[in-house]
């Protein structure tokens, strides 16, 4: 910049000299007086922000993961509790079936009511013909079971006892015993099926 100033001055007319003088550019002195901003705090500041950010993100992520673990665990627990509730409900429903209730009520001696009388509050008159409940007015709660094929429901084997000979041989006795057991098993089978 300083090298171009004299050339400019020589070409310009004298009249403009003052203006040029006034317009001459000078180097602004560097402000030595203001102390240079210290870099260390800035670096520390940025590092802290960075660190805090990274740590925060890490902790946030960790907590999210933690929450995810917890969510999975709680979901398992919820599924488990739902299953338990359903199991208990099943039990409750089993006890609550009409057949069960009617059966238990009748075992306690309850019967179906007779015809009711209706008391009219306004007039005090009894409408209808009240009939007391009578013992034995019950319903049959035994519903017939499914009809099983013959293979599953064999006819009972009837073993006629042979007239025992005095001093009979042991072989005959053991044979009869074997057939008795066989008969028991055959009788037992349908009962077990019915229970199911």
């Amino acid at each position: 910049m300083s090298s171009t100033a004299p050339q400019l001055r020589s070409r310009l007319p004298r009249l403009a000299e003052v203006a040029v003088q006034r317009a001459r550019l000078t180097v602004v002195p560097r402000p030595r007086t203001r102390p240079r901003a210290p870099r260390v705090p800035f670096v520390i500041f940025v590092s802290v922000i960075l660190l805090a950010g990274v740590l925060g993100l890490l902790m946030f992520n960790t907590s999210m993961q933690q929450a995810s673990f917890r969510e999975t665990a709680l979901e398992h627990q919820a599924a488990d509790l739902t299953a338990r509730e359903e199991a208990l409900n099943l039990d409750l429903q089993q006890r609550r079936t009409f057949e069960n209730i009617a059966d238990r009520a009748q075992k306690l001696g309850m019967v179906l009511p007779g015809a009711p009388g209706v008391l009219t509050l306004g007039t005090g008159k009894v409408l209808g013909t009240p009939v007391p409940a009578v013992p034995g007015n019950t319903i049959n709660t035994n519903t017939p079971g499914p009809h099983k094929p013959a293979a599953l429901n064999p006819p009972p084997v009837i073993v006629h006892e042979k007239p025992q000979k005095r001093g009979g041989d042991t072989g005959g006795r053991s044979d009869a015993g074997h057939r008795d057991r066989h008969q028991d098993r055959q009788h037992g089978a349908p009962d077990r099926d019915r229970q199911r």
Partner: protein
């Protein structure tokens, strides 16, 4: 800043000319970019789907969000069918074969499965075998956990919803059941309302796809959810407590009469709601496989039969409505009426009886009914019967409902006309007949019977339910009232034929029926009878219309067999719904003159 590097001469001297370096750089970049481009074309152009799928499969999980099947509830919200979470226990025989006997023993004990069958499956030469299906979730989870603790490997759980019928036999004939689910776990409806409303009850499965890491969902990972749309609940008009009682009474009646089968229907006279619809014999919806397939239906809707004398109610009310007869009108009823093809008899032997129209109904005279019906112009009786709803389905929503037979055109001969007048030569289903007689109970207005509360959509798109039930007037209020008074005489201990159907303290109108019965085996009358009783009460303010039908009763006709059952059911219904007696004087219409 760049100043000092410019002054360093060393490296500059060893470098090649900038243009060369630039060229080499460009070539390298171009090569790399073309590799990228080729890869891009390979990924996106050649088979993008496969790569996308591979990327998605890597660490992402697809889960079907099962839609819960709607429950079937009775009118009070008592569940008659409901779905609960269930699991299937499956095994990978590659892993289980080593310890098969021990594991089979364990499973047989815990799940109640067959030891030998399971043992075979645990040793099968496949990678997938069913061990148990539709196990309640709790039990299945417990068993598999226990097995793992004991060191068994190779057992897995999969979703397999369980459909429960908590009330077993109650309304089983209506509800139907679901068979073993299909392989994808979807329901497989086999009978009854479960089948008819399958789509309505099923809902739509949803889907969730998310990314997992170490068994847990990655919190900010890709996640898409299509929520499941649960099936809707189907609420019935059935009152399950009453249904149970009806079934028990029906069973007692059928067994007592050594009969073949029976039907009982209880209908709310004012709304047409079917409160009970019982069939006997029936089956247990929880174990349908134990019962013959022929029972997987509601006979009250699928089977038709000749109604017999109960139909006289319709004939006589139509006569009164048409102004062709009055309850006190006098008839001379001969011992036998010779018509074109064969003589018509009454159920009791008599000489020339002097009966009123009320007497004809009270004593159930076929001859008297035919004589009275002779006054109908041609085609008039058929028009009335059609209007009463005979010959067309009730449309309550059950599949395979039979519409009965009401002869038409040339098939409606004079002889047929005579016989139809007293309830033979036409056939009905039980609900149809109940709705027809309910017209008399409901002041002459026919209401479509309903089985579904509110409305629901059948699989074929038809809307059914109480909201869609229509009404139409069939006979005048006065004709209905007079018919009711005549029907009341049927239960009279002296003049009627069914004193056993009476309910103490209440005015009840009813009609017996003892019809010759056509059997399926020969398609002919085999001499057996259908005993029935239909009625409503209280006569002057009807609340319930009840119909009891006993097929092949060995111990008597409608009054003796179905009448007492009717009385029990009517008495129960009136008591249960707290209906007081009306306190008015019963009908005293003369039956003779």
């Amino acid at each position: 800043m760049t100043g000092p590097s410019r002054t360093r001469p060393g490296p500059q001297a060893r470098r090649a000319s900038p243009e060369l370096r630039l060229k080499v750089g460009f070539v390298v970049i171009a090569m790399v970019l073309s590799v990228f481009a080729a890869r891009l074309v390979q990924l996106q152009g050649v088979d993008p789907g496969q790569y996308a799928a591979m990327a998605a499969a890597e660490g992402s999980v697809d889960v079907v969000l099962p839609a819960t099947r709607g429950s079937i509830l009775d009118r009070n919200g008592v569940p008659l069918a409901e779905s609960i979470d269930g699991k299937m226990v499956v095994a990978d025989p590659k892993l289980t074969a080593d310890k098969a006997p021990e594991l089979a023993k364990f499973l047989a004990k815990e799940l109640g499965v067959d030891y030998f069958q399971v043992l075979e499956r645990l040793r099968a030469d496949t990678r997938f075998e069913y061990i148990a299906r539709q196990v309640p979730a709790r039990l299945a989870t417990d068993v598999v956990d226990k097995a793992e603790r004991k060191g068994f490997v190779g057992l897995f759980l999969r979703r397999d919803p369980v459909r429960r019928y908590p009330q077993g036999r109650t309304a089983a004939n209506l509800i139907g059941f679901l068979g073993t689910p299909r392989k994808d776990g979807s329901a497989h409806a086999l009978a009854g309302l479960e089948d008819a409303f399958d789509k309505y009850l099923s809902g739509t499965d949803g889907e969730e796809r998310y990314e997992v890491g170490a068994g847990n969902q990655i919190p900010l990972g890709h996640n898409t959810i299509t929520p499941a749309v649960d099936g809707e609940d189907l609420r019935l008009t059935i009152d399950s407590t009453m249904q149970f009682y009806t079934q028990q009474v029906l069973q007692q009646t059928v067994e007592g009469a050594h009969a073949e089968s029976g039907i009982a229907v209880i209908m709310d006279s004012r709304t047409g709601d079917v409160l009970s619809l019982a069939d006997y014999p029936t089956y247990d919806a929880s174990d349908p496989q134990d019962w013959p397939k022929s029972r997987y239906k509601s006979s009250a809707l699928t089977d038709v039969y000749e109604p017999g004398s109960t139909e006289k109610v319709l004939t006589l009310s139509a006569l009164i409505d048409a102004g062709l007869a009055r309850p006190r009108q006098q008839y001379v009823v001969p011992p036998v009426l010779n018509r074109q093809d064969r003589p018509i008899h009454d159920h009791w032997v008599h000489g020339f009886e002097h009966l009123t129209l009320a007497g004809i109904l009270a004593k159930s005279s076929n001859i008297g009914t035919v004589l009275a019906a002779d006054n109908f112009p041609k085609g008039e009786l058929r028009r009335y019967l059609t209007s009463f709803g005979l010959g067309r389905t009730t449309g309550v929503g059950m599949l395979a409902e039979s519409r009965g037979i009401l002869p038409a055109g040339a098939a409606w001969t004079d002889q047929v006309d005579d016989r139809i007048a007293f309830g033979q030569s036409l056939s009905v289903n039980a609900l149809q007949m109940t709705a027809a007689v309910n017209t008399i109970a409901n002041d002459g207005v026919h209401i479509d019977p309903s089985l579904v509360e509110g409305h629901a959509t059948l699989d074929d798109g038809t809307e059914v339910g109480t909201d869609d039930a229509t009404e139409r007037r069939v006979v005048s209020t006065e004709a209905a009232r007079q018919t009711g008074l005549m029907m009341e005489r049927v239960l009279d201990p002296v003049d009627g034929v069914a004193p056993l159907a009476a309910v103490p303290g209440y005015r009840i109108a009813g009609k017996t029926g003892t019809a010759q019965r056509v059997v399926d085996s020969c398609g002919c009358y085999d001499g057996s009878h259908t005993a029935s009783f239909i009625g409503y009460g209280p006569t002057d303010d009807a609340r319930f219309t009840i119909y009891v039908v006993i097929h092949d009763s060995k111990t008597g006709g409608g009054g003796a067999v179905a009448g007492p059952a009717f009385a029990k059911l009517m008495s129960y219904a009136l008591r249960r719904y707290g209906v007081p007696p009306t306190g008015t004087k019963p009908s005293q219409l003369p039956v003779e003159w």
